[in-house]
């Protein structure tokens, strides 16, 4: 299959794995402690687990699964707000499939659906707008989530709704931006990271320049990485090469999709529709300044937060939940107090257990094997 098989070649994978092993063997730092590399994006986490990549890496490399799963970092209060909107009598609430099982304080959107709310899964915001056209008497609300990757499609949908004069469509905007969050992680005192696999899909929209601070200010190497298993291995090799050479640069392994300059039309749509919020609450990480966006006043009539009265409550994470420490790489998922006991994919307590891109769910589903191996070798 074109554009897929090229990135899943057994021989190339073996060559890269050997190259990574010999590179690590030549890095003095790796003798004292494992090199910690964070993959920022949940797509990488998924690929790493799905293809068993952790298991073929030398034990001197530790992958830290970062905050780049937009579903995982949604706080419970926002889910509750979304359920409040969905539960209004005339509303059709549309959402990406990932978000449907994320637990709020009492239930998820799936639970709200079972209780009678009209919750529908869509694959794109334009499908939601299509529903608004089909059901002019209903209020169609799109649950907008995701990083810069999904921001443009929501923005373009709002622009299309405006152009067509559609009045029964709005967005419950929970879009977030990854840059301040990487910064917050790098500022965290309990953190020790040696490098990053950068978010390829975000870079596809914003380009590589917004990540320059990682190298310039924090002196950490970052390689913007693709999502196929060979992409991940090659990017890892590139990060390790920088570490070995004592460099800290922003490199782009994913140039075939993510141009260094980003996507101009997408960025213009984003700039036209959104403005930064003063702060946004992240599950596990707390409130981070300028890390979320909302609709500009010019598009207020498409803003579900202004259209409907929402409770807008902040609900603290459960005390036993250690999502934050997992997100920052301080502990591994299975070291969390509730992993596999109070918190499982069937009954998730923390959001990292919900999405297939959440580190905990990935470990629970795919990762027990490597964990057993690592514990045995430790």
């Amino acid at each position: 299959m074109k554009y897929v098989d090229e990135y899943r070649d057994r021989e190339k994978a073996q060559t890269l794995t050997r190259a990574i092993a010999s590179l690590v063997a030549s890095i003095p730092l790796a003798i004292d402690r494992p090199l910690k590399v964070m993959e920022v994006c949940g797509g990488h986490t998924h690929s790493i687990f799905r293809y068993g990549i952790e298991g073929i890496l030398p034990k001197e490399i530790e992958l830290v699964h970062g905050p780049g799963c937009p579903v995982c970092v949604l706080p419970r209060g926002r889910i509750d707000d979304c359920i409040a909107i969905a539960s209004r009598p005339n509303v059709i609430l549309t959402t990406f499939g990932d978000a449907i099982r994320v637990p709020g304080s009492t239930k998820s959107l799936l639970g709200a659906k079972a209780d009678g709310a009209d919750v529908r899964m869509v694959y794109s915001p334009s499908d939601a707008l299509g529903l608004a056209r089909r059901f002019p008497d209903r209020e169609v609300v799109f649950f907008g989530i995701g990083f810069e990757t999904t921001m443009p499609s929501t923005a373009l949908t709002i622009l299309a709704a405006e152009a067509d004069g559609i009045r029964n469509f709005s967005v419950f905007c929970n879009h977030i931006t990854i840059v301040p969050t990487i910064k917050a992680i790098l500022d965290s005192p309990d953190l020790q990271l040696d490098g990053f696999l950068g978010p390829g899909h975000v870079a596809m929209v914003v380009g590589t320049a917004p990540f320059a601070f990682v190298a310039d200010h924090y002196k950490r190497p970052m390689v913007v990485a693709g999502f196929e298993p060979l992409d991940v291995l090659q990017s890892l090799w590139m990060v390790l090469s920088q570490i070995k050479e004592g460099r800290a640069d922003i490199e782009n392994q994913y140039a075939r999709i993510a141009p260094d300059g980003g996507n101009g039309p997408a960025l213009r749509a984003v700039a036209a529709v959104y403005e930064l919020r003063e702060f946004f609450e992240w599950r596990g990480l707390g409130s981070i300044d300028h890390s979320g966006v909302r609709l500009r006043d010019a598009y207020a009539r498409f803003d579900a937060e202004r259209k409907f009265a929402i409770p807008n409550v902040t609900i603290a994470d459960p005390l036993s939940c250690q999502c934050g420490e997992v997100l920052k790489g301080v502990i591994k998922p299975w070291q969390c107090k509730v992993f596999g006991a109070g918190c499982t994919p069937e009954v998730p307590l923390g959001a990292l257990m919900v999405s297939s891109e959440g580190a905990c769910a990935a470990y629970y589903q795919y990762g027990g094997l490597n964990r057993t191996k690592r514990q045995a070798s430790a």
């Binding site: 299959m1 897929v4 899943r8 070649d9 057994r10 994978a13 073996q14 794995t17 994006c41 949940g42 797509g43 998924h46 687990f49 799905r50 293809y51 068993g52 990549i53 952790e54 298991g55 073929i56 937009p70 579903v71 990406f96 499939g97 990932d98 449907i100 099982r101 799936l110 869509v122 694959y123 499908d127 989530i145 995701g146 990083f147 990757t149 999904t150 899909h201 298993p229 291995l233 994919p345 069937e346 999405s355 297939s356 891109e357 629970y364 589903q365 795919y366 990762g367 027990g368 094997l369």
Partner: protein, 359 residues
């Protein structure tokens, strides 16, 4: 109950059947009176017509001695069908209801013989739709050599069900000497499938139309008892057969590993997938191991019979693409997959429905 079987009775075709002249089902058709009798005669009895089916008793009566000549145990199974849409590339709810129950009998080694058919109809369902489904059931049953010998019809008000739900129950006979069990997989055994995986799940998802994806994928819906018969003749030591329906082969493999207390390792690159299904899964972020099949079995056979089993499967039209996908190892109920990277991952049971990823 509205149909029955007494061997040797007058064929249905010779009887005067009622006829429904309205275009859609109403609550009157479930009322137990003439309208209901006409509906049953018009739609079901005429379609299922077979020599054994005649006096409308409340039950089918089956000749014990005739059953006992074919084997020493009865196999008995039931399944409900609520598929949406009712018609999809490669099949429809009627074909599915007949094949699904036949396959549940077949994977126990049974010769499927008799089916029942219970239908729950939503008020307003077009008669022509019902006739199409009944014809499809009749045709599938005829091809498979089974008879639909009893049934039931209920009508519920609009909104109380989605157009049409079917339940089929099946009876078959297990020939002497055949003993298949989910708990019998042993270390060293090989695991086979009879062809490409995930076609049904992908076809249904695509046919729902809300993905706006055009696809040429057809459901693999088929009755597998002929294939199973050939397999068991060639590999009589076969330990376990399962049809990989809801939850896909990942679920079946986990059930086998769990029941038998063994590990199963499958090979990513050996897993057969149609190109279109692979592309479909890549686009939507689905794992084909969890997609439903309606014409695929997982077979666990001893190493010594692996070649014979594979050849027998491939010799049958429904097993041309059969392959060995993995092997059984000593362990504790874990299913793993070796990927092309040389790494291994766990293939667990699915929690809830498979959800598409967004980034």
């Amino acid at each position: 109950m509205h149909q029955a079987i007494v061997t040797g009775a007058e064929p249905i075709a010779a009887r005067r059947l009622g006829r429904v002249h309205v275009k859609a089902v109403t609550l009157a058709h479930g009322g137990g009176g003439k309208a209901m009798k006409d509906l049953i005669d018009d739609v079901f009895v005429s379609a299922f017509d077979n020599a054994a089916l005649a006096p409308l008793e409340d039950q089918a009566r089956l000749d014990l001695a005739a059953l006992a000549r074919r084997g020493d145990r009865l196999a008995f199974t039931t399944d409900s069908f609520v598929v949406d849409p009712l018609f999809f590339p490669g099949g429809d709810i009627g074909k599915l209801a007949v094949c699904g129950t036949i396959n549940d009998l077949a994977v126990g080694g049974a010769i499927p013989l008799y089916l029942s058919c219970a239908a729950i109809l939503e008020e307003g369902v077009p008669l022509e739709l019902l006739r199409r489904v009944a014809r499809s059931m009749a045709e599938t049953a005829r091809e498979a050599g089974v008879e639909i010998v009893t049934g039931d019809t209920k009508v519920v008000q609009r909104g109380a069900c989605d157009k049409l739900f079917l339940t089929t129950t099946g009876i078959g006979v297990i020939p002497r000497g055949i003993h298949l069990s989910i708990a019998d997989a042993r270390p060293g055994d090989v695991v086979l499938v009879n062809g490409v995986l995930g076609d049904h799940g992908a076809a249904i998802l695509a046919a729902r139309g809300d993905l706006l994806l055009d696809s040429l994928i057809e459901s693999d819906c088929a009755a597998l008892h002929g294939l199973v018969r050939n397999l068991l003749a060639a590999a009589p030591g076969t330990r376990t057969l399962r049809d990989a329906t809801r939850g896909g082969i990942a679920t079946v493999l986990n059930e086998i590993a769990d029941a038998a207390g063994v590990d199963i390792e499958i090979d990513d690159e050996a897993t057969p997938l149609r190109r279109e299904v692979r592309g479909f899964c890549e686009i939507l972020g689905l794992d084909p191991l969890y997609l439903a099949n309606e014409g695929k079995i997982v077979a666990v056979v001893p190493q010594t019979e692996a070649r014979a089993a594979l050849e027998a499967l491939r010799a049958h039209p429904l097993g041309r693409d059969a392959v060995v996908i993995g092997e059984v190892r000593a362990g504790h109920g874990r299913v793993t997959m070796r990927t092309f990277t040389g790494g291994t991952r766990i293939v667990d049971m699915l929690v809830g429905e498979q959800l598409p990823r967004i980034c």
